[in-house]
Amino acid sequence: VTEFDHPALLYGSLDHFLETMVPFVRAGVDNDEVVFVATRADNVDALHDELGTGAGAARLADTDQWYPHPAARLRAFHTFVTRELNAGAVRIRLAGEPVWRPEPPEFVREWQRYESVLNAVLEPFPATLLCLYDASRLDPSVLATAHQTHRTVHLDGQAVASAAFQEPDRLLSLWNPELAPPPPTAVRAHTVTDLAAARTFLAEHALTADVRPDRAMDLSVAANEILTNALIHADGPVALWAWTAEDRFVCQIEDQGPGVADPLAGYRPPPASREGERGLWLARQLVDLLQLVSADTGTAVRLHVRRG
């Protein structure tokens, strides 16, 4: 089988998890596939015990430690697959559990968007990626999205084609954020045509808001990429806002350019990313969350980094 396969497993208990995952790993090892599983630490331990020597060269990782950020996880999976295939692997067999934390809804949504994007980004590769959802703990609304982002869902020991599945470009458009205007407390930069001044503006405000210095730098690098795109493509003025929102520091860049038509812009790893998308890819990688809302009358990009 040469195509990419991206099913979801909705497991209701540890026994159910092991019933699917033990044969999944063993079959991969027996077929000489490269096998890698990122799941919760308790699942890692149980799977390890159950597999014993049958684990072969399979690698298991704690999902809370292995690139626990949607954009970083996407890049890590892509790098893993391309590196192993370049090293001579015939097929890659992955399982991955998204990291669901008690976070603001837009952060949870980004994991769901990433689940959808994986369909497009790993599509060229001979790989299986089984996504793991703990049905006993997760909110039904989260489980419902697994049916939208995976063509096949393993449920109660059966693989079922998902009627709710949607192609990533369609789903990402449906899931576009609605951004309220910057709050009254937001500070607006005087000028953004001077990029050095805009970077200083952001770094200073981020540091004042207790953002770690390395993260303040990441934010200002990311914002510089978005501002650069805006200054190149936009006709009218470009605006830059900054504010704090609970445990986050946020900035927003608004332009009146022709807009970003592609819902997957900045989600495709380089070099597959198109010219002009590389800045958006970089920005998505460097901040905790990047939200983009675009129309043919302009674009707003909101960047979030955690404080403290």
């Binding site: 890049r75 990029l195 990441d218 510089n224 650069t228 200054l231 590389r278 990688q285």
Partner: protein, 128 residues
């Protein structure tokens, strides 16, 4: 005198081409085996950077090209991509050596997977 502009000393480095917008803070000083760069490399300095590095590449045919970056305080994704592309276009055996680059350059190289370019060498990166 018909072209008085020729008599007025131009501000900035001689290498700066006219198509970079005003305000570029990039300075380029040729040195043995390469060029020393200082300032900030954002969109205003993209073509200055390319001109300066290309000149250094042509200056020392067949040899590694050294970019001394200890005085560079910022560089953006496009500019790092340009450096990687120029490294990739060198004849086999030649390398583009980035010495003392700022932390931001390493961060971008890693995030854009530009470390897959074998002719792009990073030496003694800075922490800040």
């Amino acid at each position: 005198v018909t072209d008085s502009a020729e008599l007025i000393p131009r501000p900035g480095p001689a290498a700066a081409p006219p198509d970079d917008p005003p305000g570029s803070s990039l300075r380029a000083v040729p040195m043995t085996g390469g060029v020393a760069l200082s300032g900030e490399v954002d969109m205003r300095a993209w073509s200055s950077l390319e001109v300066a590095v290309r000149a250094a590449i042509e200056e020392s045919p067949g040899e590694d090209v050294l970019l001394e970056l200890s005085e560079i305080t910022f560089i953006d994704g496009h500019a790092v991509g340009v450096l990687a592309a120029m490294a990739g276009e060198l004849e086999p055996g030649r390398r583009l050596v980035l010495r003392h680059p700022p932390w931001v350059l390493r961060r971008i190289v890693e995030t854009l997977d530009l470390d897959r370019e074998p002719a792009l060498i990073i030496e003694e990166p800075r922490a800040g």
